[in-house]
Symmetry: D2
Subunit: 428 residues, 4 copies
Amino acid sequence: MVFVLNKSIIKNPALAEKGRLKIEWARSFMPVMELIRTKQLCKTKLKGVRIASILHLEAKTAVFLQTLADSGTEIFATSCNPETTQDDVAAALAEHPQITVYAWRGESESDYWKNIRRVLLSKPDIIIDDGADGIIYAHEKLSGVISQLIGATEETTTGITRIKALSEHGMLRIPVIGVNEGKMKFLFDNRYGTGESSVFGLLNATNLTIAGKNAVVVGFGWVGKGIAKRLRGMGARVIICEVDPIKAVEAYMEGYRIMRLIDAVKVADFVITATGVNKVVRKEHILEAKNRCIFANSGHFNVEIDLEDLNEVTTSKKKTRYFGLPYNDFLVEEYRLINGKVVYLLGKGRLVNLVCGQGHATEIMDLSFSLQFLSILYLIDHKDDLEPKLYSVPGDIDDMVARLKLESLGIQIDNLSAEQRAYIKRFK
Amino acid sequence: MVFVLNKSIIKNPALAEKGRLKIEWARSFMPVMELIRTKQLCKTKLKGVRIASILHLEAKTAVFLQTLADSGTEIFATSCNPETTQDDVAAALAEHPQITVYAWRGESESDYWKNIRRVLLSKPDIIIDDGADGIIYAHEKLSGVISQLIGATEETTTGITRIKALSEHGMLRIPVIGVNEGKMKFLFDNRYGTGESSVFGLLNATNLTIAGKNAVVVGFGWVGKGIAKRLRGMGARVIICEVDPIKAVEAYMEGYRIMRLIDAVKVADFVITATGVNKVVRKEHILEAKNRCIFANSGHFNVEIDLEDLNEVTTSKKKTRYFGLPYNDFLVEEYRLINGKVVYLLGKGRLVNLVCGQGHATEIMDLSFSLQFLSILYLIDHKDDLEPKLYSVPGDIDDMVARLKLESLGIQIDNLSAEQRAYIKRFK
Amino acid sequence: MVFVLNKSIIKNPALAEKGRLKIEWARSFMPVMELIRTKQLCKTKLKGVRIASILHLEAKTAVFLQTLADSGTEIFATSCNPETTQDDVAAALAEHPQITVYAWRGESESDYWKNIRRVLLSKPDIIIDDGADGIIYAHEKLSGVISQLIGATEETTTGITRIKALSEHGMLRIPVIGVNEGKMKFLFDNRYGTGESSVFGLLNATNLTIAGKNAVVVGFGWVGKGIAKRLRGMGARVIICEVDPIKAVEAYMEGYRIMRLIDAVKVADFVITATGVNKVVRKEHILEAKNRCIFANSGHFNVEIDLEDLNEVTTSKKKTRYFGLPYNDFLVEEYRLINGKVVYLLGKGRLVNLVCGQGHATEIMDLSFSLQFLSILYLIDHKDDLEPKLYSVPGDIDDMVARLKLESLGIQIDNLSAEQRAYIKRFK
Amino acid sequence: MVFVLNKSIIKNPALAEKGRLKIEWARSFMPVMELIRTKQLCKTKLKGVRIASILHLEAKTAVFLQTLADSGTEIFATSCNPETTQDDVAAALAEHPQITVYAWRGESESDYWKNIRRVLLSKPDIIIDDGADGIIYAHEKLSGVISQLIGATEETTTGITRIKALSEHGMLRIPVIGVNEGKMKFLFDNRYGTGESSVFGLLNATNLTIAGKNAVVVGFGWVGKGIAKRLRGMGARVIICEVDPIKAVEAYMEGYRIMRLIDAVKVADFVITATGVNKVVRKEHILEAKNRCIFANSGHFNVEIDLEDLNEVTTSKKKTRYFGLPYNDFLVEEYRLINGKVVYLLGKGRLVNLVCGQGHATEIMDLSFSLQFLSILYLIDHKDDLEPKLYSVPGDIDDMVARLKLESLGIQIDNLSAEQRAYIKRFK
């Protein structure tokens, strides 16, 4: 049951007050976004631009969308995941005259796609996507929408992988800026953001200690590196599973143990996937797992832990741990297996940092959304020059976000002199 | 408004189902307590023993109290803090035929003391205390209760300090085992338990990143050491404030910065107190603090941040951040100061790991409560030999808990041979 | 005074026995090189190939060169730095019938260039370079040598920078494989290798503790990252100086302090440069430095600390600390400054890990030299296809070295299934 | 062959210049000792006091002994280990008119005891001991010396264990201050000092990387804790072996793996003992060790690795790695075992930080020797009140050393107010 406010469709407008407080808090800790706003980097150009936003709908996203809207754009927003909308934030966001929201937590699969369709049918100039569901859907089903787009931005590794595939199939029809390929994105959001928030999700869901535990991190990309670092920082013995031999040696040199997953699960207290690949945890792993092993996923889609396989080897399951924040309806599920062992699944195998936690820290999203903001400006400024392909974030946008961050911290850095610049270019 | 179930006084019996799940979860991760139960270390002796329990009333405590009750004791339980009772756990606990509960979250100061009085008037043989409010109260106001006690156990540094003071004033009338002086307590609960759970509380209350922040830890005892270690593990730049020069040099060698608090607050993003001392953060510190500085306390009493001083330099305040778990009514408060700056206070200055979090991790409390359990057995076994003074946990109890923990982990360790034992005793 | 053995010119043939032991030790801990040898990946192709090697002449290099020579090549070897040849190793190496050595420790600037000229005039097919002195020299002075080369490999960031400059000036005439751009090189050698060995050099030169010290690392590239990580691992408070704002934010998130060098020197106990840039530490920094500050360099050339500037602000200097290993003649120099302070310079400002230490760890060089080995094979195999430009290490060479390393460690890793490979390529 | 200078017996007086430079360097980094000297805490009282010093004879010890001598005492010095004297330092020390030295590196067992006898026969008022060889010898063989002593100080855990044993046998005849029981000793010297210098010794002896290695630390006392911390800081995967279950759980919570030694050696790249116990590494461990495992000891005596057992299972051995600093004659020995494997022994199983390195860092010894200095003053001041027993370092001496250290660093700390002091003493 959802409520319609103005044109928006949300869970409950009465939650708006709480949502406003959350957004106000987030804004206080997003200084780069604030500098972008106050430096007037953009106001006139954005006037009247229509934007379809398909991002996890919570407080930091709201600050980003409000800043965009305050700059003159029209925003149509839904979420990129049926379970990650914060209804209070959605309610507060819907109060903005230039923002229309179609999203609620726990929306059905069918409603999820309906909401994406709604934002795509808002005649957008730009799509902001997270996982590429919107961009792919539009390419497949809404040719008319595609043909009127200036372009899109994509937030995640997963989304970029899909857009590359689309491009390799010769089907990509719009320019897309892969925000995730910005250094100020993947070096921070993927690594520090996911690392910290996944540890939080784990603690929040379990009230167990991390210290002393055997924690298995599957995947040693930027996300896996971040999770491993923070788990170790909390005292875990970390084991890494990888398919890339170079990353495996890197993990070895970092002092982690490297094992095949089938060996690692036997000693695992926790298993967290961060691969971007499907069917990583399969029935053979589940059956070999140590009794009371806890499984969680930090990858974008809930395909890394194979839920079909899990159910296939399960005799009974129950919701075993309700937890509160930020929603009261989520849980740890206990699976009693055909071999008599018990394993636990956190947040239904969806991204543990969002479903069992509060998502990335505010300051991290400040960097990512600032890159988004400047990438949108770039799309508009260069709309006549861009081709239908995947673009990296331009280096000077990356640099500008970094410099604004340092400015917000009051940190000064050194500069190369002309002589030093020449020295770097020399060969003698 | 509270509800009376059997003899218990609790918030809401309907919450019992949720409470039962929480307790079941906790029990699954308290293997030492389970080994104590299954090894039948105690059953007969405890039959009919009456115990007044004044401990934070949440799931791990419930496992402890249920294990005691299952061993034949009669339990009368309240909380040692008006804000830390989990009402669902209290409801579940009250279902046990041998357990009576007088506690609810948010009880008034007056109700807090009434509840302590209720458990003390239950004709206890033993008091289990946390902070020594019950022990002190009984000494001052309930002489008859004191005279019938076998003894008491005390969980915290703060409580032991108070009992030492009582003893030095010649007023201590019962044997008290200072459980906090057990190595399996302070090396684990104070250090790893508080460290981890305080970091969780901070993240939970704020959704801010710890990485890169200037985090000031005031006090470098076991608790402060644990907090500092985990904050650093999450990427903070940690600054330590101390009054003990030896601990200050120790912190310096650990690579922390050491400053006076008045200097540290100027660069602080977070300030966490862990001193056991009152009026640590005073108005001069608050006024000098960096704008948007966040203050929290991990010490037992809410006296470390001087709330009178804080209010004195405040022009307006508001509740700025509701958070969920485990209760929906708590918050971050924003204080707008007379000098125009804003500072934030977490959880009203009460222990951030409990009020803004879920308390210590389950496995940590397993160790502490196992020490409690065995200390209670010790009191009963030696009741004729013990004098009215503060006792440390006997070394073999400490050892037994450690050995049970290792057994539960399947870890084997080496043993000294007779020749090696002789070598250690040699002087040639 | 040097000694001629066969055609070689070295310090002292009598040192060969010690050198042989060093080389034997190194060989025991270079398992990837050993697997390359035993897997016969190369033997026939290398027969008769002539190689000019300009690498730091110590034990690990010797294992590499012996393996090459055992595969049938003719080696002509000198060092890429006048101070880094180990005379005992040079003596042992000169005993190999297919290896000619022209190098000794402490050779003059003039002899340094004469020795480079000697190896270049040996009619090489391939140059192995470290810093690009040989490659550049041949381009400038020995056109005939260049015209007969198959190509070259270059070991360092510094060398690659120079070759890029050469290429941008349109002057590069041979294919060069930038071994440093291999992941199995820069992720390991630059980061872990230099980090660890620079810390060793610092400890070796000073016998001071790192714990608690303010250590300033100038430059946060792979080398700087490695040094910072290890200094922190030894207990230092690390301060990073950078010119790149993105790297500065990264260092900030890692929990380091970020400062301009002029501010950092005021609190510095140690300053280590790792920038690849000249004149990084200048007189203004030296004069502002804390009394007794210790300066060292980990960059390739001794230009990062401006020695002219240092001498200009010095009133007197003395050799203050002889140390032993691996040579007795080196030292810490004490500079008494015009403002009355004292500062110290380690190893004359040359790379502290080699001049004050033993160079990179054996296992690290095993990876780097294995990449070199396979890159040389690649040059030969593809000599007809390669153009005069800078090439990265081919990805499958990187992978092979990683897989051989894992094999040598007995570590197994997971593999992607066909279904998973397809999943990664999908867009739906 | 040794040389007699004045009354001293040393290796070579010509080494004095190098020794003077070493001592000057050390003095520059021993600010607490310098503050003690300049604050004139002691001068008159020490005039004419005769001191027998049995300490590792290297530069930091020399600064301590010179400071004592400059205060008016007469010093008679030898070493507490036949392999740890630095002959250049001994030569420089012997130049002081009030210091007589009997020590050289590589002295025979017989000479070692003769030298101890020489210093004991110098009619000392005070013995400064390290390991208690001198104190025990005097009790057993030199009753007349004992009867004239004011008392002694003892530097190490090992020595204190022996003196406790002597005391328990009722044989201790003099007051001994156990300097090792001072917090400013064991928290720093044992932990940070030995940790750092053992890692240095390991690197110096091997030129291997620590990163990624399985390093087994046997013993998790202060020394073992320090070694484990620094090995991890350098990237090792650390495994702890313990006999104390509490320490084992502590190590587990720190994220180390805990194993019996017999299991640990199977995966060990390095094994370092730090137990204070004999026959820790026995033939069964050696035979089970991974091929090319490296054994080292950081405990006081060379009994932790059972050399008889090692030789018993060895078919051939050779000196395999000479290294330089600080002496050219030391080595790694390669043992080829009866089962065909090879293992290595560093520094003959003597303390690896001294025999393969340069001993503790200068600033660490500054703390330890400052405690020694003030403990000697305490012995003299209280000579009429002290009984023949083991004393801890008085708390105010510990505090004074800490405060002087902070003063030397320019660090200010907070102080408790009178109100706070009262609060701590309260029970209400």
